[in-house]
Amino acid sequence: EDQVTQSPEALRLQEGESSSLNCSYTVSGLRGLFWYRQDPGKGPEFLFTLYSAGEEKEKERLKATLTKKESFLHITAPKPEDSATYLCAVQSHGSSNTGKLIFGQGTTLQVKP
């Protein structure tokens, strides 16, 4: 059964203090790994897609990386506006006919000024 586990559940940082969020996955053949950001009271917002081990994507202060078993979302010099819940999701080749995403439980990031 495809599974996604994110850690930590919650993370508090001071503004400018860099850190990483982890997404561990077990799938029957990874087709894609996706990172989303969710602000309170809103739906998730798509950030990145990663397809193969070694791939990296960047957007402003965020950089996502992928290995064969996990993905990291690195946050460099975060600002208070980066505070949100970050969700990781996987799509497996087994679900390629429907494209079903399996989401992790999320990491809630709080950045204090």
Partner: protein
């Protein structure tokens, strides 16, 4: 480009009552999804449509939940009768194609069942 629209934004009902949610996806998106998100958890797929047809409803509690997507555009999700454990946020999302993991979500409907 307009995003995914959902209504209502909030709904409070008593158990055993019925409720319906509406979703209008991004224009041109063939695939539409309904997710349930319980507080502190990630979204869980309830049902997925490709144009008019259902491609995955394996996690939809069919004894109480139903959904339709008429004319391949708007969709409604209904719960009848509601249970306390149905309290959650119901998210609608759409994508260009069902293999596209870049899904675009609406703001969600927050349901509280008393």
């Amino acid at each position: 480009e307009a995003g995914v629209a959902q209504s209502p934004r909030y709904k409070i009902i008593e158990k055993r009552q019925s409720v319906a949610f509406w979703c209008n996806p991004i224009s041109g998106h063939a695939t539409l999804y309904w997710y349930q998100q319980i507080l502190g958890q990630g979204p869980k797929l309830l049902i997925q449509f490709q144009n008019n047809g259902v491609v995955d409803d394996s996690q939809l509690p069919k004894d109480r939940f139903s959904a339709e997507r008429l004319k391949g555009v708007d969709s409604t999700l209904k719960i009848q009768p509601a249970k306390l454990e149905d309290s959650a946020v119901y998210l609608c999302a759409s994508s260009l194609d069902m293999r596209d993991g870049a899904q675009y979500f609406g703001p969600g409907t927050r349901l509280l069942v008393l």
